[in-house]
Structures are given as structure tokens and as C-alpha cells.
Amino acid sequence: MRGTQKHIFRWVWARRTTAAVFLLLLVLGRYEWFPWLKGNTAATTVCRIVPFADPLAAIEVTLATRRAEIDLLVGAGVLLAFGVLAGPVFCGWVCPLGLLLDLNDALRRGWTQRLHRGSWLVRGLRVPAEIKYGFLGLALGFALVARLPAFQTLSPINIVAWAIVFSAWPALLVVGALVAVEHIASRVWCRSLCPLGALYSLVGRYGLLRVRVDPARAGKLRCERCTQSCPMGIRVTEDYVVAGKSAIDHPDCTRCGACVDACPSGALRLGMRATRDTSGVSDHTTPGADTDVRQCRSRRPGKTWRRV
């Protein structure tokens, strides 16, 4: 039945692949025979001439030096403009640290499934997401006054890239600590701490690319798998699907597609335009509305856990 579709195409693998390919290109850039992508997460040069720069790094350096480097600002501006259109896509699709923490979170989900579902470890420690805007301000204020792009020196994102590209393995201790912490506080870096994610969240508030909700299919099941699957801890079911929103416009949404993958009724879709409202069509055209409820329950007997 279409309603219980097992997604053959899964966004999670597309996303992990792009992040892994980016990392691979960074590693290849270390070698002289590979001139097509040079650099690191802070700034890269593509095909020898096209400069890209991490917007936060570019802003920090501009504040610290009080000089405007045109190339740098253009390279950062391109990525920032993309961020305005598509939100924090970088976080889910490119960031090497995001990839590492995403795989780590899959591990975490593995072992927490064995726990009693009332255990606080299942839900994990929650840190308010707004803290990351504070860290963004901290990075910018510090860069301006101390005249140092301090976040570029400390950033675990850069550290992962340095470690893998320049074989600076001891630096990974910092990241190792983060990985360990994330087993207790799920995705705490991406959700609540990362200043770069905060910047992308800020500018991407009114982006076009979004997870779209099909009003005809949505809200029939309330199986809450979208909420459970969301790496950013967005309450997809409660705040968007059941609330009748046509798109998930949460600023933290990285368009990673985890909820799209998880949805058994195909109500969610990643796209630029809203799904046409077909709610006038009678209910039996909604694929497998009632069968799905049964399926949901039979797969996870008695589990109505909410990881909010």
C-alpha cells in the first residue's frame, strides 16, 4: 500500500553522502595533484579561482581586522545568500562535524532503545536552543573587541577538518569529549551551541526550501515519528502537522529530511513550493489512513513515547 510506503530513496543517505563527499574533497585538496578544491571549512577555493568562505569566519575576520577583503566577503556572501534561501542546509548536508555527530546520534538511538522508555536518557538532557544565539554574539563581540577570530580557533567544526585533512589527530580530543557529551544530551552542539548554525538559523528564517506538509495526508496517524526522528528536536507533529501548518518553518530546521524519511504516510516532502491543498478529496484517497495506525502500533507495541 502506498500509505505504508517504505521509502526507497532516503534523504539520510543523500545527506550523509554529500557531507562525506565534501570531506573527501577536503582531504584530496591536501595533495598537489588535486587543485579543484583547496582549503578547509573556514574557507575554500574551488577550481583555483572561485572563493567560498564560511560567513561567520568572514564576519569575524572583518570585525577583527576592520578591513573589508572583497574576495572574502563575496565568497561568504554567496553562502549567506544560499542560507537565506535554504536555511541551515550547511548543518545537515555539508558540515563534517554534523556528519560525525549524526552518525554518533544513530549510535545513541541504538543503545537508548534498550532502556526503559521512561528513562531520562531516552529523551536526553535538553539545553535551550536559544543559547546558540548567545554564542554567536559572544563570537562576534569577542572578535570585535579582542581582535581575534576566536571561534575559528576553537571551533570543533574546524578541528574535525584540521584533524582529518592535516592529520592533527590530538585535536580530536575536544571533539571526542563532545561526542561523549552528546550521548547524554542529544545533538547538543547543533541544537544549542553552534554559533555558525545560529547565524544560518537567523538568516534562513524566511527561506523557500522547506519540509512541506501535505494537508490531505497529514495528522491522520499522530504516530509522532517525525518528532522522534528530528535531530534538531523540533516538535514536528505537535507544532506543525497537527497545528495545520503547510510547512515546517522552524528556524532550526536543517532540511535534513529525517522526518520525511520517517513519515509512514508520505505527508511530508522537501520542496520549494507548498503542496496543493487536496483536502476536499474524500478520505479514502488518503492512502491507508487507518491501516497505518494499526501498522504503527503493531511495530512498536505499547510505545507511545514522546521524545519532545
Binding site: G39, T41, V61, E69, G134, G137, L138, G141, A146, L148
Partner: protein, 193 residues
């Protein structure tokens, strides 16, 4: 929340500036064309493109707790691989790729000031009655940066020396008799690596 962050960051920045920020970074030999250390640390994006561009593998990425705020910046360990000043190439590659101008273009290789070679007379062979002129042979500016005194002992002209480290690399003594004093030792950052 962002406002609180800016205020905290600015406050921490002020405190750190008062305590001399640049004492928190290691003083290392910078690539050619590097701005004075405080400016360099402000401008360096820590992207490592200079490290990747160096055709001789002279540049290394500074990573580790002892590097402090210099983490992620490029440096030259002249005893391992000195800076060959891109001999055989048209430009200085690291300067060409730097996206932020932390490394500034230099008109003439002789204008580079990475540091200054300092002869340690207690270990230098030429100063202990041996004939040795390996540093002079390796110097890209022979008879300018390194000359000989009347007893055929090498002498460094601090005005002409560019601090590339070729002499340091070539020096045959166990510990180098002609280590390079990085430029940052003269303009702020005091902690040796």
C-alpha cells in the same frame, strides 16, 4: 540572548586585551609576507590554504594546546623543512592563496621579514676553529645576509636576513647553531613554541 552574548564577548575581549592577548599564543616562524603578529592573528582565517599550496611542504598547521590562540595558523619549522621562497615558481604560493590578506604580497623576496637568523657562537663550528661555511652556501642572499668576518666566521646582517631558515636547516651541528628568531619575538608574542 544574542545581546547578552555580544556583551559577554566584548567584556571577555576587553579583559583579554588588558592581559595582553598575544601572550596566549605561541611565537612561531610565520610564512613569508605575514603581517605583524597581532594583525596576523586577527586576519588569519585558519583555513589552511597556504599549507596546502606550499610546493615544498614547508608550512605546517599549528594545532595543539601549546599553540593557544595561534591554533590553526600556519608556521614554518625551519629545522624540519625551511621556506624555499618558492624557488622555481613565479609567485610565493602561500601569499597568492591567502583569502584575507593575512599574508601580504611582497615586491621582492629580499623584502620578506619572517625573522632573523641568530648564530649561537657556543656551538657553531666556525666559531670553534673549524672551517664550515654551510650556512653561507645555503643562504639565498649570500654575501648579503651572511658574510664572513676576518677570521672566516659567519656573521648575520640583521638588516638583510629574511629568516627563511635555509641556514638553520643546513646547519650540521646536532642542535642548530643558527636558529631563527621569529619576527613575532620582536613585536609582541613572547612565548617560544
Amino acid at each position: 540572548m544574542a545581546g547578552i552574548g555580544v556583551a559577554t564577548g566584548a567584556g571577555a575581549g576587553l579583559l583579554l586585551r588588558r592581559a595582553d592577548t598575544f601572550a596566549f599564543g605561541a611565537c612561531v616562524l610565520r610564512p613569508p609576507g605575514a603581517r605583524p603578529e597581532p594583525e596576523f592573528l586577527a586576519a588569519c582565517l585558519r583555513c589552511g590554504q597556504c599549507v596546502e599550496a606550499c610546493p615544498f611542504g614547508s608550512l605546517q598547521m599549528a594545532v595543539g594546546a601549546r599553540m593557544g590562540i595561534a591554533n590553526g595558523t600556519p608556521y614554518v619549522d625551519s629545522r624540519a623543512v625551511p621556506c624555499y621562497l618558492c624557488q622555481g615558481h613565479t609567485d610565493l604560493k602561500c601569499i597568492m592563496v591567502c583569502p584575507t590578506g593575512a599574508l601580504e604580497p611582497v615586491a621582492d623576496p629580499a623584502d620578506i621579514r619572517m625573522g632573523v637568523a641568530v648564530i649561537d657562537e657556543s656551538v657553531c663550528l666556525a666559531y670553534s676553529r673549524t672551517v664550515c661555511r654551510i650556512c653561507w652556501h645555503s643562504c639565498p642572499l649570500p654575501n648579503q645576509a651572511i658574510t664572513f668576518d676576518q677570521r672566516l666566521r659567519p656573521v648575520v646582517d640583521e638588516e638583510a636576513c629574511i629568516g627563511c631558515g635555509l641556514c638553520d636547516y643546513a646547519c650540521p651541528t646536532e642542535t642548530s647553531s643558527i636558529p631563527i628568531r621569529p619576527a613575532c619575538a620582536d613585536n609582541g608574542a613572547a612565548i617560544p613554541p
